[in-house]
Subunit: 208 residues, 2 copies
Amino acid sequence: MNPHKPYHHGNLRADLLQAAVRLIAEVGPTAFTLREVARRAGVSHNAPYRHFQDRDDLLGAVAGEGFRQLNEAMVTAAAQESRSQDRLKVAGTAYVAFALRRPEHFAVMFDAPAPNGEDHGHQEAGKQAFDTLLSLVRACQDEGSLPEGSSADFALLAWTMVHGIAKLATTGRLPYRSNAEILKFARFVIDQSLPRPSQGGQGDRTPR
Amino acid sequence: MNPHKPYHHGNLRADLLQAAVRLIAEVGPTAFTLREVARRAGVSHNAPYRHFQDRDDLLGAVAGEGFRQLNEAMVTAAAQESRSQDRLKVAGTAYVAFALRRPEHFAVMFDAPAPNGEDHGHQEAGKQAFDTLLSLVRACQDEGSLPEGSSADFALLAWTMVHGIAKLATTGRLPYRSNAEILKFARFVIDQSLPRPSQGGQGDRTPR
DNA sequence: GCCCAATGTGGGCAGTGTCCACATCTATAC
DNA sequence: GTATAGATGTGGACACTGCCCACATTGGGC
């Protein structure tokens, strides 16, 4: 039952997951193929079925891995700031930056409808990433840099904001050419939407 | 050359498009199949190739049709308000409402990367929808209910906002069960992000 | 009325996801 | 130390897909 104990191949499950993540980064979720993953892992086209129910199940595991990495990126970014509002801002920027760095992986995480049943910690990992955001919002409210009220609603607001940017950017809908410009726009949106701590708002109003 | 003149079947192209839109609504973009579209149109599995280059080309045409409908929904909604800011707000809400009404169609429009070349007015229609948003923003700036500055940047801000809500909602990531709740949340986000015309903000602060 | 190009058809090919029966291995009970 | 049972990997098969080819049919311009 222990998935970490190698049997024949030696941790095939982990190898398959890694191969899947790489393949998706190369060809995207649509061209992603179970058989190609098996080929890259050096096993027969049927071996993956011993570790994943079907194609969607593998993709779900890939998504879960993505949520874990996304969460880590946000936590790491937030840890480098001291004021709560700055922590929230850089976490949001990190969200967008992650999407720009791994656009195909990001698509796998969010294009498919959220699963209902057990899914290799897919929704578990997603929930944890949201909790990270939630606690950042709560800290802002404690600090007074965000109005009182439902923390969940403000966290959702922040989420929809960065998610909208990330999705439009990764599908090439924003009129910016470089990632730097996109991140600048992300900061603009975030600044624009968060009430500023000092009233003398002199920060950059528009990007570019 | 005129695509509206029927040859054998009688406007097969339009029939195929219609069948494709319906099929996508039923089974989603992934399970969408060229051959099934042909079956529903009552032609051989090869007939679609006389009207569309390949599968992606058909999906592109479906997306273009979606953009046209989305644009119409926003224009219609905006026309029912008089104050510019209200027009912008209801247009945003209409954007989310469209996504909720046709989630699969919406996915086809935005999940695939934006095409580069000619694409049956895909990008043309998308551009027009954005222009609708842009002129609403400009009207708000003229009215004084939105700060001066780059209209394009504010329009992009508004777009990312409603797009984030729409995408998270249609993939089941928001903790709301009914569409009414989601639309209420959308209004909350929009109100929260737009500077209010009168300073005595007494509007609903949090949804639900 | 004839002809050519536009349109539709059937067959075929390589590739896919998934099922099945079978082979192989390893942990564990004796 | 070995037999055995269950976990793991394999090869074959089936229905299906997107797309290519050669061919059939059709209708409008000469």
